[in-house]
């Protein structure tokens, strides 16, 4: 069963230099109870996608396509319909818990706000739910924490506050944009394990964005790799890790510390850089950096679809021949 269907999504930012395409013709599905990991280097459009799903893009943005969620197209929502589903049916966990918490409001009041405004609980119930949730996440003194201001808490506590704020209303769709990059490795692990458990228990679906494929490989059921605003590969986590179809995915995986050959003299890293904002190469947009580039790649692009859950934007994947070259 599908929870979210994204069809032909286009996102462009209006800037002084003209339009910057941030997401280009992106289509994917997300099943009920599924965790979809989205990987990609900086600037590949991951945050733009996340914000588009929540309708939170700034006004200098143009969004086209369809985002089907619970029987409606989110992109047709007016302010009132957005207001109703945000924080109740869908919620977002932002990257930087310090800047995404209000500095002058108590943590407790911020956490329970979604429950209150959507009429899901009275203040007393909401407070109890918040206490339980924070305790479950391993906060030793949640009562005190509810009374505190963000600057009085540690980074790990703030991150848990932001997560509690998103999950208390039991949304069906959770979007997490690099939720743990600000944390140390141990705290990051704890938080991730808790999130995974919560998704399994609640049946909600999760879009989990990270540039760290290592983190995604511990969390996700499905993996989608983005490059310059396009989805270049999609498949189940196991499939993609075992048999990447796109040279870009292959490069990302090979640059993981755990995948490095211990005896190799140098760390593997992807050659070249993401082209600066707005300039999209012709043909397959990855071709300037592709180790297996052929003449055809410079002029044409092609999507190879094995099925809805398994596709890649590399035309040479079928031959499987790029790996040997």
């Amino acid at each position: 069963m599908k929870r979210l269907e994204v069809r032909g999504l286009q996102i462009g930012f209006q800037t002084d230099q003209g339009w910057i395409p941030a997401v280009r013709d992106l289509s994917f599905d997300l099943g009920v109870g599924e965790i979809l990991g989205i990987a990609g280097e900086s600037g590949s459009g991951k945050s733009a996608l996340a914000l588009a799903l929540m309708g939170l893009l700034p006004s200098n943005t143009q969004v086209r396509g369809k985002v089907l969620f619970q029987g409606g197209d989110l992109l047709q929502n007016n302010a009132e319909s957005w207001r109703k589903i945000r924080g109740s049916k869908m919620a977002m966990i932002f990257q930087d818990p310090m800047s995404s918490l209000h500095p002058y409001l108590r943590i407790g009041d911020q956490i329970i706000e979604p429950l209150l405004i959507h009429g899901l609980a009275n203040p007393k119930q909401a407070r109890e739910q918040a206490l339980a949730c924070l305790a479950e996440m391993g906060i030793s003194d949640p009562k005190t924490m509810l009374q505190q201001y963000p600057h009085e808490c540690s980074g790990g506590m703030r991150q848990r506050a932001v997560i509690a704020m998103a999950v208390l209303a039991k949304p069906d769709l959770l979007i997490a944009d690099e939720p743990t990059t600000a944390l140390d490795v141990t705290t990051q692990r704890e938080v991730l394990i808790w999130m995974q458990k919560w998704i399994r228990a609640s049946g909600a679906s999760l879009v989990f964005i990270s540039h760290d494929v290592g983190v995604l490989s511990e969390m996700a059921d499905q993996l989608m790799v983005m490059y310059l605003g396009q989805g270049v590969e999609r498949g189940s986590l196991v499939e993609v890790l075992k048999r990447p179809h796109h040279p870009y995915t292959d490069g990302l995986l090979r640059s993981l510390p755990a995948m490095q050959d211990r005896n190799a003299k140098h760390f593997y890293s992807l050659a070249g850089h993401v082209p600066p904002g707005g300039s999209i190469p012709s043909g397959c947009s990855f071709h300037p950096r592709c180790p297996a580039v052929q003449d055809l790649c410079r002029t044409t692009e092609q999507m190879l679809e094995i099925n809805q859950e398994r596709w890649t934007a590399c035309m040479r994947a079928k031959e499987g021949s790029w790996k040997s070259s």
Partner: protein, 311 residues
């Protein structure tokens, strides 16, 4: 925090002492005394007068005497209006000045905050530009120009309101607008900047992601932050409004403190000038202190820093 409060109070006392001393000596440095204006008093009467008011003593002794007296709240007798003490004269005028100041502050807040919120929430649109244009006009027009202009239009041409005095409610409208407009303009600007800057913050996006309506975001989240600079300005503004109405009082012939002060200056009424200065300095210092304490109460980050610096 208590440490900080004590330091802040001491600082205020120090400023007061400095202002009082400076005024005391400056007045005596100015040429002419209170009794040698075109009065042609006989020499012995003159001497007698100087003696009654201790003006024959060395300046330094006059100074210490004066300090001793104001510590008891006694600002001394008026030199010119010998039947009244400075305390009585201040009391006679201060309530009218207060009334004028409070109305002007209220007017400035209502107009300023409304305009500022309106402009800030419509950033970059014609509403924004209109509101900021008005504010620019209000800031550029000093009260000695705005006052006569208003009097000419609404008092003389249209005849809607009296052109001077302070009795009927109608007579109070023009002075209040004249006095308050500059502050309304400043407040509008501060409010707008606060809102525009706060709206860019990540935590406002968070509020939107929770499903709050734009109105709830403004009241519950944006204003929380955006009002802080406004509050910080209110203390000094209140002090300035209460003490800075001389021009307006003179323009509209309002029998407030400001008018006494101006008269006292013309008459070289030492104790009256000094007394008013002392009184107003106490007001200004107190309001600034209150505003700092208010700032402290509104900002938890400062509140918790032991002895945090509030510069």
């Amino acid at each position: 925090m208590i440490q900080w409060a004590i330091r802040r109070v001491l600082q205020g006392v120090l400023v007061l002492g400095f202002v009082i001393s400076l005024t005391f000596f400056l007045i005596r440095l100015a040429p002419g005394g209170p009794f040698d204006r075109d009065r042609n008093l006989p020499a012995e009467v003159q001497e007698k007068l100087l003696e009654t008011y201790h003006l024959d003593q060395p300046v330094f002794q006059q100074y210490t005497n004066y300090l001793g007296r104001i510590l008891h709240g006694d600002l001394g007798p008026s030199f010119i209006r010998s039947d009244r003490s400075v305390n009585q004269l201040i009391e006679a005028g201060v309530w009218i000045t207060f009334e004028l100041g409070v109305y002007a502050l209220f007017y400035a807040m209502v107009i300023g905050l409304t305009l500022g919120i309106w402009a800030g929430t419509h950033e970059g649109t014609w509403q924004d530009r209109l509101a900021m244009g008005m504010s620019l006009l209000g800031m550029g027009l000093p009260s000695f120009l705005l006052g006569p202009l208003l009097v000419w239009i609404f008092g003389m041409k249209l005849g809607w309101v009296p052109v001077s005095g302070w009795d009927s409610p109608a007579s109070k409208i023009l002075p209040v607008i004249t006095l308050g407009s500059v502050y309304a303009s400043y407040l509008a600007r501060l409010m707008r900047t606060g809102i525009v800057e706060t709206q860019r913050e990540d935590y406002i996006r968070t509020a939107r992601a929770k499903g709050l309506s734009e109105g709830a975001i403004l009241i519950g989240h944006t204003l929380r932050t955006a009002l802080i600079p406004v509050m910080n300005f209110l203390g000094p503004a209140a002090a300035a409004l209460l003490s800075g109405s001389f021009v307006v009082e003179t323009l509209f012939q309002i029998p407030g403190l400001g008018r006494f002060y101006v008269q006292a200056a013309f008459n070289r009424d030492y104790t009256m000038i000094l007394g008013t200065t002392v009184f107003l300095s106490v007001l200004v210092v107190t309001f600034n202190m209150l505003s700092d304490f208010l700032q402290m109460a509104m900002n938890p980050r400062i509140r918790l820093q032991e002895g945090g610096d509030l510069s």
